[in-house]
Symmetry: C2
Subunit: 233 residues, 2 copies
């Protein structure tokens, strides 16, 4: 997520770079006068000149100035920039599902059972393997309140998820669990669990993370917590 880290300023330079690519400067050295670039971009000659200077300074183009114009070629670094934009856009345009959805809920104390389930070895090994972290022994319970959050939560069920397989220990069977990677309060990478037990309905979100979230994020019961759920591509 947030793969495109250009800010709105740089974005304009990317536009200029794209226009140069459209003229073929991605594969060849092309002759482009500032006047010509200006026309293609819908700006003045002076502005186009400044863009040239900035692009060159940024290292996205290589330029030889001749009396008849500039001989311009996009550098590898410039191509990488365009590629970044292109791939991000492709992800958005061709993905069947949104790349992420954001949910918000209110923190409340559960019965502490989360810790029991999370620490079962059969689950724990799968957390490490499939989510990439060893969860803190305990879950954060969030109550979804708004209609929007509950609707979004139920849409989530239709998106592809990471599946933890069911397993047995000596005494009983532990059912399979759907989970999604997530970012909690824009800071901590963790995951949410669906259907680990059935006694919470779909208005509750169970969150796990490698660390103790309550202290890591200084949370208390009643606090609003934001969870950005990452969907598999």
């Amino acid at each position: 997520m947030n793969s495109l880290n250009v800010d709105a300023q740089l974005w304009k330079r990317v536009f200029a770079l794209y226009k140069l690519a459209e003229m073929g400067a991605s594969s060849r050295t092309v002759k482009v006068s500032t006047e010509y670039l200006a026309e293609k971009m819908g700006t003045s000659q002076q502005t186009a000149s400044r863009y040239f200077i900035q692009l060159e300074k940024t290292g996205w183009i290589k330029r030889n100035i001749t009396p008849e114009g500039c001989l311009v070629k996009i550098t590898d670094s410039g191509m990488a920039e365009l590629k970044k934009l292109y791939s991000s856009l492709r992800l958005v345009m061709e993905a069947e599902y949104p790349p992420s959805v954001t949910l918000e809920g209110t923190l409340f104390s559960g019965l502490g059972e989360g810790a029991y389930y999370v620490t079962r070895d059969g689950y724990r090994r799968q957390f490490i393997e499939k989510l990439g972290f060893d969860p803190y022994p305990g879950t954060l319970n969030l109550k979804l309140t708004t209609e929007y959050d509950m609707k979004t939560r139920s849409e989530l069920e239709t998106y592809p998820s990471i599946i933890l397989e069911e397993f047995k220990d000596e005494s009983r069977t532990f059912g399979s669990v759907k989970c999604y990677s997530a970012i909690i309060n824009n800071k901590v990478k963790g995951a949410i669990l669906c259907a680990i037990r059935s006694h919470y309905n779909s208005s509750v979100l169970e969150v796990i993370a490698p660390t103790f979230l309550r202290s890591r994020l200084k949370l208390k019961d009643g606090n609003k917590v934001k969870v950005e759920v990452l969907i598999l591509p």
Copy 2:
């Protein structure tokens, strides 16, 4: 060519639209506060708010303002805009050849043989069929002078072209001809011919068009003429 007709102003709004798409607003209605959008875009809350207003005015998003944020969805028109950007970019990134190359030459008078060849029925029918126009009986001869133009002209030979098949009439055989659609002086759609005869070397460009270019563009011998050669995708 030049399929993206956004100017540098609109470009910023496209950026905002793209960020919303990244949040899933392309397929669902998502809750996005101005603060949240601001953070994702690297600007202030006020600016994000203004972007929302502008995007809504442009018709690219539909928005319901609630006390907890905005429920936003990108409209069909907004998706069309993103699609346009995406396809243009794909064309540039994945094309094997540049979409066009621009050549410049000096007008000179040939021996008038162009007219003879262009009006041979076997060629003429192919011009109409493959280029989409009935050429004015005569060619415009341009002398390429700079090293850049001659180098570019010879690179052109490696790009895919429209081929006019050879044919025979009662008396002789007319060889096959490579040609490319072209735009002359940014105004008139025409084509350039390669190897129609061999007595001009590769420093000469032969241009045809549906109209008499010398009068249409008010050209005289010695004038510089710009030719944007369009490469087949």
